[in-house]
Symmetry: C2
Subunit: 111 residues, 2 copies
DNA sequence: AACTATATATAGTCCAGAAAGGTATTTTGC
DNA sequence: GCAAAATACCTTTCTGGACTATATATAGTT
């Protein structure tokens, strides 16, 4: 029997969820991951080997910007903030996602 | 402004949808694609450069088997049929998918 | 002193999906 | 009769995203 790939995430949804968490206000990377895990009641695990590269790509795309600061616990951390382009992108991605899900559910439910 | 990637599919859902269409009975590749496009009211487009490689991977994984035959239109075509393993896989994938979607929606909807 | 949690980063790997090219036959339109 | 569209398949190549593994560092706890 072939091995089951077991992705933690549905590929293509990480940007959207990161953008979503940042829509509340700036966060550092670790907190983004925690928040997604938290909000999903632990069902979604964000590997840091997925998170940080994604954040860097998002910086390059101009969806977020970043500055170093301190957490409540007095640790240095990099805080990411949505740009206007990022906010637009969040809109676009969630609209597209919802449409996609509805289409998939049509396929899966059609008898 | 960075280019928008515009995927036809949500990555990771193609196997599941193919398996779903075959759950009704054997189909050839072209018909699988047509059926998915049809059921999704045209929202999902299956590129044949995605479809045929996917079908071959599914053959290797033992989820489907295939034999050559004739369509209603008297064209030669390769008909794919779900194996028991494929049926199990369909179950597993759709359960996991539904769970994943619920988790993502929690993240996207949480205020 | 050791361990856990917090915090970031990168190098390397793997795989699915898309793009782009090709073959061949049947039906439809002019 | 001929061109075009639709039907049907296949393969090679590219790319990007997610995962693994590894590394660094500090704060707080035991």
């Amino acid at each position: 029997m072939a091995e089951l790939r077991n992705p933690d995430l549905l590929p293509g949804t990480l940007y959207m969820m990161i953008l979503r968490t940042l829509n509340q206000g700036p966060l550092h990377g670790y907190a983004i991951a925690k928040r997604i895990e938290d909000w999903s009641k632990g069902d979604l695990q964000i590997e840091d080997g997925s998170l940080y590269p994604a954040l860097n790509r998002m910086l390059q795309k101009g969806w977020v910007n970043a500055e170093w600061g301190m957490t409540e616990n007095k640790r240095r951390a990099r805080f990411y903030r949505l740009t206007p382009a990022g906010r637009k992108r969040l809109e676009a991605e969630s609209t597209a996602f919802n449409k996609m899900i509805r289409a998939i559910q049509l396929v899966m439910r059609t008898s």
